[in-house]
């Protein structure tokens, strides 16, 4: 499992797309935190700490799913369509393959967040743990959903298209469920991470439960596949 995890992690880091994404997130976060820092005299210390991480928070909430789907939409079906999956299934269990792939992508995003929050920490000397956890929760949800999509849909070109649509649609749907007073919005909101992030504290655990559910569904579906 760890070999697959490290392989996926390194593969993502080798990609130019991934490096641009990390540079973009870190750059925007640094710029926003610097901007907030300039207004330090007008806001309280608590708000200042949260303000420093505002850039990365906004980026992850609005574009997190899009980034994740853009970079990892084919984490499983790429191996299936190229048939390299045959080398894996004859060596280790299918559950470990799914877990290894998921952990590899999560490790990449953990590193990306550490780089971003590290950049903010280096410039303004604050590390907002709460925002960090919220961002990671959002990314864990997106990665596990992306994994499920990659197991469900066999062709990488389809997951790329579907992933981009879903990546753009999820935040719009999330904002709508938060802003709208319609009963449908409330129900749809329960399926998305935004409502739980707004409520905060223990509710964030529900996002992780969803991620676990997506992971379990992916493992179950992968278990039943023929290659």
């Amino acid at each position: 499992m760890w070999a697959i995890c490290i392989h996926e992690f390194i593969r993502l880091f080798r990609s130019v797309k991934s490096l641009i994404t990390i540079a973009f997130i870190a750059g925007v976060s640094y710029w926003v935190s610097d901007l907030v820092n300039q207004a330090a005299g007008f806001i309280s210390q608590h708000e200042l700490t949260e303000g420093h991480a505002l850039g990365v928070f906004a980026l992850v909430m609005l574009f997190g799913p899009l980034f994740v789907f853009g970079l990892s939409h084919d984490m499983i079906n790429r191996e299936v369509s190229s048939r390299t999956v045959r080398f894996l299934v004859t060596r280790t269990s299918r559950f470990r393959i799914v877990l290894g792939k998921c952990f590899g992508v999560l490790l990449f995003w953990l590193c990306c967040m550490l780089v971003t929050f590290g950049t903010v920490l280096a410039s303004v000397h604050t590390f907002d743990v709460k925002t960090f956890l919220e961002c990671m929760s959002m990314l864990v949800y997106s990665v596990s959903l992306c994994l499920l999509l990659s197991v469900l849909i066999a062709r990488p070109s389809y997951t790329m298209f579907g992933g981009i649509i879903l990546g753009l649609f999820l935040p719009i749907l999330g904002i709508w469920t938060l802003a709208s007073s319609q009963p449908a919005a409330k129900w749809i909101g329960y399926l998305l991470p935004y409502a739980y992030l707004e409520k905060g504290e223990a509710y964030i655990g529900v996002i992780w439960l969803y991620a676990l559910l997506f992971l379990a569904a992916s493992a179950l579906l992968f278990q039943r596949r023929d290659f």
């Binding site: 697959i4 080398f87 023929d226 290659f227």
Partner: protein, 300 residues
């Protein structure tokens, strides 16, 4: 000890039955050849044994039921059909990565030794995307050899490989068998199967049409044998002789100085010789062939 045992193994894709209730046993230290036309179900069968495809029904027992699936996977080596590789990895990196996936530690030196065995030593540092089909096939065999597996599943190991490399692979397989390994392989090359396999099975439309050693299969088909007669040149073949010979057997091929014919009885060989003598045609050489694997394959 049976190393592979399948009982009524079946695979269906929708309405189509690709492998139909196949029961087969492969003993330890055998090279077992699996033959069949395209679409006969060979690859699906081998893919079920290796866990690539899940059986619809039936059972598979490897290593006499000793250990669980995870342990089996550590003790087998697999060359799947249509081997494709990670474009960005070199041949050596492939072996290092796939050995780690298997849960074994292999050194770079060990990888180079395996690559040398399959004739890829000088390409160890080259990326797989630059490899030809034959080189990819060799890399496929190399990755199957990782961790000294007791049981090898090779799906067409020599297809698309040049003659020299093909012979090298055959020698390698024979050496592995001598070292105590068991090999289950599929091939379209009947000569190769005839040469290196201790037992074989012929698959037809998802079922086993015939199985056994070459001599067992030949014994089953021995009722018909090919007789070749070399004789003095005949400008005009005597009519009586031609009509007599035509009635003796089947698949008659008669050129100016040689005749070959399949007969179903030894006494017909004697009758054939007598007919030539009676017609005053000198015979230089008579020989009777055992049925070849090619013929057995075509007849099954």
């Amino acid at each position: 000890m049976p190393l592979i045992e399948t009982v009524q193994l079946t695979k269906r894709f929708g309405e189509r039955t690709i492998v139909n209730s196949v029961s087969l046993t492969v003993q330890q230290n055998e090279i077992f050849g699996f033959l069949g036309k395209n679409g006969a179900g060979k690859s699906t069968f081998i893919n079920m044994l290796t866990g690539i495809v899940r059986p619809s029904s039936g059972t598979i027992r490897l290593f006499d039921g000793d250990g669980n699936t995870a342990e089996w996977k550590r003790r087998i080596g697999v060359l799947p059909d249509y081997s494709t590789f990670y474009d960005s990895l070199t041949a050596r990196d492939h072996l290092l990565y796939l050995s780690r996936v298997k849960g074994i530690r292999v050194t770079k030196k060990e990888c180079d030794r395996i690559l040398e065995e399959v004739g890829l030593a000088e390409h160890a540092g080259k990326r797989a995307k630059a490899f030809s089909f034959g080189m990819k096939k060799k890399l496929g065999i190399a990755q199957a050899l990782l961790g000294d597996p007791e049981l090898l599943f090779l799906d067409e190991p020599t297809s698309g490989v040049d003659v020299e490399s093909s012979l090298q692979i055959q020698q390698l397989l024979l050496r592995l068998q001598k070292e105590g390994r068991t090999i289950f392989m599929t091939s379209h090359n009947l000569h190769e199967i005839e040469k290196i396999c201790t037992r074989m099975a012929i698959m037809k439309a998802g079922t086993i049409a015939a199985a056994g050693s070459l001599s067992e299969l030949q014994a089953k088909h021995r009722s018909w044998r090919t007789v070749t007669v070399r004789h003095a040149a005949l400008a005009d073949k005597p009519y009586e002789l031609v009509s007599f010979v035509e009635g003796l057997g089947k698949h008659l091929e008669w050129r100016e100085e040689a005749l070959s014919l399949e007969v179903d009885d030894k006494r017909k060989v004697a009758a054939l010789i007598r007919a030539f003598v009676h017609a005053g045609v000198d015979i230089y050489h008579v020989c009777g062939d055992e049925p070849s694997l090619e013929r057995i394959f075509l007849e099954e």
